[in-house]
Amino acid sequence: MNTATTTTANGHAPHGDGHYGGALRWLTTTNHKDIGTMYLTFALIMFFVGGAMILAVRAELFQPGLQLMQPEFFNQLIGVHALVMIFAALMPAATGFANWQIPLMIGAPDMALPRLNNWGFWLLPPAAILLTLPFPLALLGIGDGAIATGWTFYAPLSVQGGIGVDFAIFAVHILGISSILGSINIIVTIFNLRAPGMTMMKLPLFCWGWLITAFLLIATIPVLAGAVTMLLTDRHFGTHFFNAAGGGDPILFQHLFWFFGHPEVYILLLPVWGLMPHVLATFSRKSVYGYKGQVYGFVAIGLLSVVVWAHHFFTAGLPVPALLYFMYSTMSISLPLAVLFFCWIATMWRGSMSFETPMLFAVGFIVLFGIAGLTGLVLADVAADAQYHHSYFVVAHFHYALFAGGIMGVMTGVYYWLPKWTGRMYSETLGKWHFWLTVLSFNLTFMPQFFLGLAGMPRRIPDYALQFAEFNAISTVGAFILGISQLLFAWNIIQCVRGRGAPAASRAWEGATGLEWELSSPPPHHSWEVQPRVK
């Protein structure tokens, strides 16, 4: 896809000294658009890889009994699916948005630290390879496959595990470095490269969302790095962090992991929550409602997210006061989110709406993420969580959040900005087909999983009791339709990149406002050589 993108991204302003052509250009680029493009391409590819893995899993779960794979391999697939989707698909996609859009939106010439920016991206492929290498190695008789502990690395299972755990540990380290670099770059760009006159309270909400995300990454990713480092030394260098025999505690790992893990879920969605008001305002032809409220909402979510982590292991036997504290603090996150929902709907209210694909995805996002959030809220209840925990109810909850919230949010952004990036309008009909197929098959896949969970089906099992058969069959069918539908998405993008489709105006959408729409589509190689003045 590289060569293809080349034509568009430098279709403008042939640029001067020291620029390589072909592949070298992509290896060495310091341009925020090139890097953004690479992030997004990588994310799309890994989305398919992670999806392919889970399709295998769904196929195994189509009926009771073991048909396709052994339990070990099943466990490896689900964990790597999760790690790939979260760290190699969703997060890079959001970072790709940041790279492309933040300089355009705040009137900056580029990102503040372009070389580190390039490094941030090029750390991802090695990490992705480390994550998946154990599969082929196992075929060569080296080790017994990838990490089989799920994406949560729980000790002592991960201490007991094979070489795959070590690969995952170092993959996480490298991904961590990448995220930190990206975050630093974004924070510095927003603080230091804003156009004159753009005060923080005029900063586009997308940038605000990403700013909070970046802070959360800097605060929590290193803790994850520390946790997996302790795991590594427990595995190979005789420490006892997670071993009672030495005075350690397996639950310590869960505290450390979820201190990262819960903020992580907001890290994944804050950029999307920042994006939504732009899209809604554009297609309602109305200004964003409650800008201040949303900014404070983001900040509140950021602060709350780091003090609620233990709701992920209520059943581990925490003392009662701790249970109550984590239950109530978790519930209170619904308040800032209620603010966001309120503002989103108020932005549409009495507007003049039209429903192009981005708007469809935005609306779909709001509804389905509403389900995710509301079920999250009941999960926060300690007593009821004793039933939900580690059942498919949780799996359903977080796919409503991660796929309908995260991935569909990203799709919203892609359809919204694709004309700006490629200078071409995507096919509206394909887009609409993609939306409806995705929404319907998504619910077909995951709605049944709520009921599976309630009926008592645990997660992470390769085979199940007969009473769960029907819902699992439905879910698998849904998953395959969902998967195939995503090919429409890929095709639509590829067409734009190849320069098919009607040329896009600089203001691609009638109602669009903001600096990014004042540059040509696609924008010149150096976005704002001369910074605009914001009044």
Binding site: Y289, I345, M348, S352, A383
Partner: protein
């Protein structure tokens, strides 16, 4: 815009279904006070969030239907209320949400948590539950009863070579037997990794954490057989370590208890007499199928590298014991009795009787093409146990 409307109604139609107590769509029939509590809370919450969902999105859908360009609706020009009004719009919804979160949902939750965590007051009996990869051990400390509970579903059914039984994957050889109407305090721990003891109809789920002890409690109201599963990923056998509890009336329970006691005494006494090799081989074959075949495979070919083969294994074809007649590190007896650190190979001295140990060791040395020809007597194992103490 017909389609989104129908879609949304479809969705919101799905949610309230979960509120029906009909177990197809909700929790299975509660069998303990806790379970009834959690079900009530679950239903209340589902109602609340369904209402929230409908209200919030009714407004949105109304707006989507009315305020469209295609209907020539002109965009209003507001970006947020000002002054007094602003405070109204901020404070009133917040008040409502706070009420929902911390009163409607918060108060029942509080009481349920308190009750759920109170394992001690007026507990009638104690049961110790220990998780192993991949089976449960149940112990009645007051009666000195202790036994393993293994998956009873035959491998053929899992491999689709045989039709699946009614309780596929939810059946065990020795269920946990409990009297109805008694408050049973359950103490949990594990020997290898974290497992989670879960019976949906009891409304309890508690982790069994290696090296630590956790507690929960049950008071079963109706006699019957209650089935659950391990709920924490614990390795390849995670999907195959069910929890089955058989609740019986007080007298039945007492009868079962005495029978079990004498049965165990029987087994123990077995280690005092001398066993013939054939007896050991016969017994050992069964034990192997029960305890070892999961990992080392029925024909002892194993699943390397995680689960080494026993056929031609150095350990199995090595010395039974060390020179000094003790289980030297890495000797066959040592490996089976004490297991291997940091692997799934556990210390079977904790779970098997002297006879079973002697039998399975003898079996391994004389099967899968291993021709050591020797054997070890239950009495020897018993002696080794004494020494270890």
């Amino acid at each position: 815009m017909k389609r989104p409307v129908s879609l949304l109604t479809a969705l919101s139609a799905c949610l309230p279904l979960t509120a029906r107590a009909d177990y197809r769509w909700s929790f299975p029939e509660p069998a303990t006070p806790i379970a009834r509590d959690t079900l009530a809370i679950h239903n209340e919450f589902m109602l609340i969030i369904t209402v929230l969902f409908v209200v919030v999105f009714a407004i949105m859908i109304y707006s989507m239907a009315r305020h469209r360009k295609s209907l020539g609706h002109e965009p209003a020009q507001f970006s947020g209320p000002r002054g007094r009004l602003q405070w109204f719009w901020v404070l009133v919804p917040f008040a409502i949400l706070l009420f929902i979160d911390f009163v409607l949902m918060g108060i029942p939750a509080f009481h349920a948590v308190i009750e759920m965590e109170d394992t001690r007051t007026r507990a009638d009996m104690v049961v110790k539950v220990t998780g192993y990869q991949w089976k449960w051990q149940y112990e009645y400390p007051d009666d000195g009863i202790k036994f393993m509970s293994n998956l009873a579903t035959p491998p053929e059914q899992i491999g689709n070579a045989a039709p699946k039984g009614e309780h596929y994957l939810l059946e065990v050889d020795n269920p946990l037997v409990l009297p109805v109407g008694r408050k049973v305090r359950v103490l949990l721990t594990s020997t290898d990794v974290i497992h989670t003891w879960w019976v949906p109809q009891f409304g309890v789920k508690r982790d069994a954490i290696p090296g630590f002890i956790r507690e929960t409690w049950v008071r079963i109201e109706q006699p019957g057989i209650y089935r659950g599963q391990c709920a924490e990923l614990c390795g390849k056998g995670h999907g195959f370590m069910p929890v089955v509890v058989k609740a019986v009336s007080e007298p039945e329970y007492l009868a079962w208890r005495d029978a079990k006691k004498s049965e165990l005494a029987q087994a123990a006494s077995g280690s005092d007499r001398v066993w013939s090799k054939d007896e050991l081989l016969a017994q050992g074959k069964e034990v192997y199928a029960q305890q070892c075949a999961v990992c080392h495979q029925p024909e002892g070919q194993g699943l390397p590298p995680a689960f080494p083969a026993l056929a031609g294994s150095k350990v199995v074809n090595g010395p039974l014991l060390g020179m000094d007649g003790r289980p030297a590190a890495g000797s066959h007896v040592d490996r089976v009795m004490n297991g291997k650190e940091g692997t799934a190979m556990q210390a079977f001295k904790n779970t098997l009787t002297d006879v079973e140990l002697a039998a399975v060791i003898t079996h391994e040395r004389n099967s899968f093409g291993n021709r050591m020809g020797d054997m070890i007597q239950p009495a020897q194992i018993k002696a080794l146990r004494q020494e270890a103490k």
